[in-house]
Symmetry: C2
């Protein structure tokens, strides 16, 4: 199979990575995509590095069955901890969301005071800070883990006094540090953007990495001369490890063009 | 090996089941215990029935390697969805926490208006309602899922305005229904008991199933004549699927006598 006809593989700990798929479809509308969401083992952000690496290795192995020409890690936590190991084991090009997010933030900031919010695992990895400093060693990075944000989004409390109070508790340290740019370092967080913006004020720019990640995928396909034919009828396939019902119900909120099948798979299952 | 020397097996989706171990040690101090916490795949309460059943089957298989004489499902969610299947597949006596919790509540209530709070999966299973009605068909049961309570406990926000506001949001429907007894249908919730009591008022009794579950285990051992010798030096072993660091750190809060090794195991691991 020539690379041009191979799909792009995307994996995430769950459903949030569909925002990255949305950006990919916008940037590369001719490309087919295979999405894998590990909904039976979600979340990754509360777990240890070795578990996140192990799950990510299994997810890549699954995507390779489809002959993907490159793999996008849509999950910030898996990008933070697993990317170096994945690149060591596999030859297929693998793109995480950390460097793209860091790049977008460095471009955006004027005061060089950048905030980063994410899951406990993402923040403790220090991956964003390292990525920003590789681009601009003089930038000041202020990080904050926000473990209640993902459950809050999943509860659907995106506005109201409880949402505002939690946002305030997490974000006030960043306000005190006078950041002018904030990286939304988790695919769930864009849904909280209005509440976050309200706490931080209008002068702080919110950055999410989906758009920049899609641009990097374009770069990888350019380098490999592996673009799909423009008239090739792209195909979208979605695989999850828990029952697809929730994914089907919520997926449309994150990915408006969500067409194609959603199938359940077992990585290493009970017989 | 005579049954008297075999350990009791306990499994939970994570760390919360240690409160049930605490009750078991109090009730049956001569018994050895093997605990399994599925910390790599926690939580179960947001997942579907079939995934919860699959994980529970794997957890029981793991405990059976230790020749356990009975198994306690410390997790409310796994008890709600998986108990009938587990009893169909395995001969070892298996005790869940739902029936004991229902029994304790029916004994406690005077007005026969019983509230139940739990994870999404536990509440949607209807297991508590069914168990209560098997004991007293005339009882009125009012159920409420509280998906933010577990993350709240894990964030450590057990008091303060955010904790109070979330408790209020979830519990007000129960107050309006004038319950006089509330089942804390998740092993994490006893840590929120002060906040819950403050919202409900002092006249509502809080019931958690650990004590009653331990009493039922005593009943199983009596029926099988399988008690350990009183002078037998009980041994406690703990196994988890994620790194043990968090378990070691937080475990002592839930189980004061937490002595013994904590080991990491892989159920079906890479590679």
């Amino acid at each position: 199979m020539h690379a041009s006809r191979q799909p792009i593989g995307v994996f995430d700990s769950g459903i949030g990575g569909l925002t990255v798929v949305q950006a990919l479809i916008h940037e590369l509308p001719a490309e087919s995509i295979v999405y894998f969401g590990d909904t039976a083992r979600v979340p990754y952000g509360t777990k240890s590095k070795s578990t996140i690496v192990k799950f990510s290795l299994e997810n890549v192995e699954f995507l390779l069955r489809f002959g993907v020409k490159c793999i996008v890690i849509a999950c910030n936590t898996a990008s933070s901890w697993a990317l170096p190991t994945l690149r060591k084991y596999f030859k297929v090009p693998i793109i995480g969301v950390i460097r793209p997010g860091a790049m977008a933030a460095v471009r955006q900031t004027r005061t060089k005071r950048i905030g980063v919010i994410g899951t406990t695992a993402t923040i403790r990895s220090g991956a964003y800070e390292a990525a920003i400093h590789r681009i601009d060693p003089s930038a000041k990075v202020i990080s904050q883990e926000c473990p209640l944000f993902v459950p809050l989004v999943e509860e659907g409390w995106l506005t109201g006094s409880i949402c505002r109070a939690i946002a305030q508790a997490y974000l006030e340290p960043l306000t005190r540090q006078r950041i002018d740019t904030l990286i939304l370092g988790c695919t769930h967080y864009p849904l909280l953007a209005p509440a976050i913006q309200q706490v931080l004020g209008r002068d702080v720019a919110l950055v999410d990495s989906a758009q920049q990640t899609a641009a990097e995928v374009r770069g990888v396909l350019t380098a490999a001369d592996a673009f799909a034919q423009p008239n090739g009828h792209p195909r979208y396939r979605f695989f999850v490890t828990d029952e697809p019902a929730h994914f089907n119900r919520v997926g449309h909120r994150l990915l408006t063009q969500m067409t194609g099948s959603v199938e359940r798979v077992s990585l290493r299952g009970w017989p």
